[in-house]
């Protein structure tokens, strides 16, 4: 029954997240709300990680698998994008690289800046790694 208990907790959290998302005025996915709710439950020690460990490990380790039907869904919109497939692919490749680079460099830059400020502020070096 242990496994059933874990599945119960997770699906219960997802049901709450989904329900809240229906009533929100802005588009906000139930799955992301469920993630926030589960985080709060863990943070306030309502549930322990051990309560859902095995089920969570199974889902996280195989996360890519659950995206297969979404990937195959491309077939159903293929007629709409067929005529401009090359520009679309070019845009996707170029903008994904730009987004990745801009994000990574910003995060790394701000961390470096913070470290420098902390060092000059306190007068001593503090490494973060």
């Amino acid at each position: 029954m242990k496994m059933m208990y874990q599945i119960g907790i997770l699906f219960g959290v997802c049901l709450i997240g989904q329900t809240i998302s229906v009533f929100l005025p802005i588009p906000f996915p139930g799955s992301v709300l469920s993630m926030i709710i589960l985080f709060l439950l863990l943070y306030f020690r309502v549930i322990k990680v051990d309560h859902i460990r095995q089920k969570a490990d199974f889902l996280l380790k195989n996360m890519a698998f659950f995206f297969i039907p979404a990937g195959i869904g491309i077939l159903s919109s293929f007629d709409l994008i067929r005529s401009s497939i090359l520009p679309l692919l070019t845009i996707i490749v170029v903008t994904t690289i730009l987004t990745f680079g801009a994000t990574a460099l910003t995060v790394q830059g701000v961390i470096t800046l913070q470290d420098k400020l902390a060092r000059t502020g306190k007068g001593k070096g503090k490494s973060h790694e």
Binding site: P29, F65, I68, P69, G73, P87
Partner: protein, 225 residues
């Protein structure tokens, strides 16, 4: 034969079978390009096309698999929880990173769509390509895009992110795992995150946080489009 296809076991079995081949090829070649998800999707599409199986029949089982995307996203909370000290410490860089990243994503998509003279509805469907599917569907509907095209753009972006994340980390000399995780989540949402989890717990947690934050930033920007 159609009775066989129409059973939910068909879609589920085909997906598991294709994914296991993908995992096997990935282990044998040890190449990032041999991404199990990419291989699985290609195998499934080939089978569906060659045997002329209606997509609706595959989806009888496929929809059951998609149900688990909710819980699979939710359990990222565990990674966030166990990395909470890092999240608190680097909150500002993570916040600024997702804001800059999401803005660059929307801005560069907009400009390139203009440059390629794509029609308006198609361009509007592309703007949400870096956020996770449920965000993309809701936002693209609001701004006059086509949701099914938006989902296709999201999935292609995600697979691209999952395949090239290790390469992009080297290309941009990303040494900090926090920066790598946030970049993967902001640029390629949950599909990219499935790769980030493999790279390390910090990368996975930060990528998971970035999915939510990039989604919120994109919702806010979309209100002005």
């Amino acid at each position: 034969m159609s009775e066989v296809y129409a059973s939910p076991f068909f879609g589920i079995f085909l997906s598991i079978f294709a994914f296991e081949i993908g995992v096997w090829v990935n282990k044998k070649t040890k190449s990032a390009a041999a991404n199990p998800l990419l291989i699985a999707v290609v195998i499934c599409i080939l089978v569906i096309k060659i045997f002329r199986i209606p997509i609706e029949s595959y989806n009888v089982g496929g929809d059951l698999i998609s149900v688990f995307l909710g819980p699979a996203t939710a359990v990222l909370a565990i990674a966030v929880y166990s990395q909470f000290a890092l999240l608190k410490k680097y909150f500002l860089p993570i916040l600024l990173g997702t804001i800059v990243g999401s803005s660059v994503s929307i801005g560069s998509v907009y400009l390139l769509c203009k440059a390629f003279h794509l029609d308006d509805a198609l361009s509007r469907s592309m703007l949400t390509k870096s956020v996770t599917t449920p965000f993309a569907i809701a936002i693209s509907e609001n701004i006059g895009g086509v949701p099914s095209v938006a989902v296709a753009a999201v999935v292609l972006t995600g697979i691209l992110g999952a395949v090239f994340a290790p390469l992009l980390i080297r290309l941009f000399h990303v040494r900090n795992p926090v920066a790598a995780g946030v970049a993967i989540g902001t640029s390629s949402h949950a599909v990219g995150t499935s790769k980030a989890i493999e790279l390390g717990e910090t990368e996975g947690a930060m990528s998971g946080i970035a999915i939510g934050m990039a989604g919120i930033v994109t919702v806010i920007i979309s209100l002005f489009l």
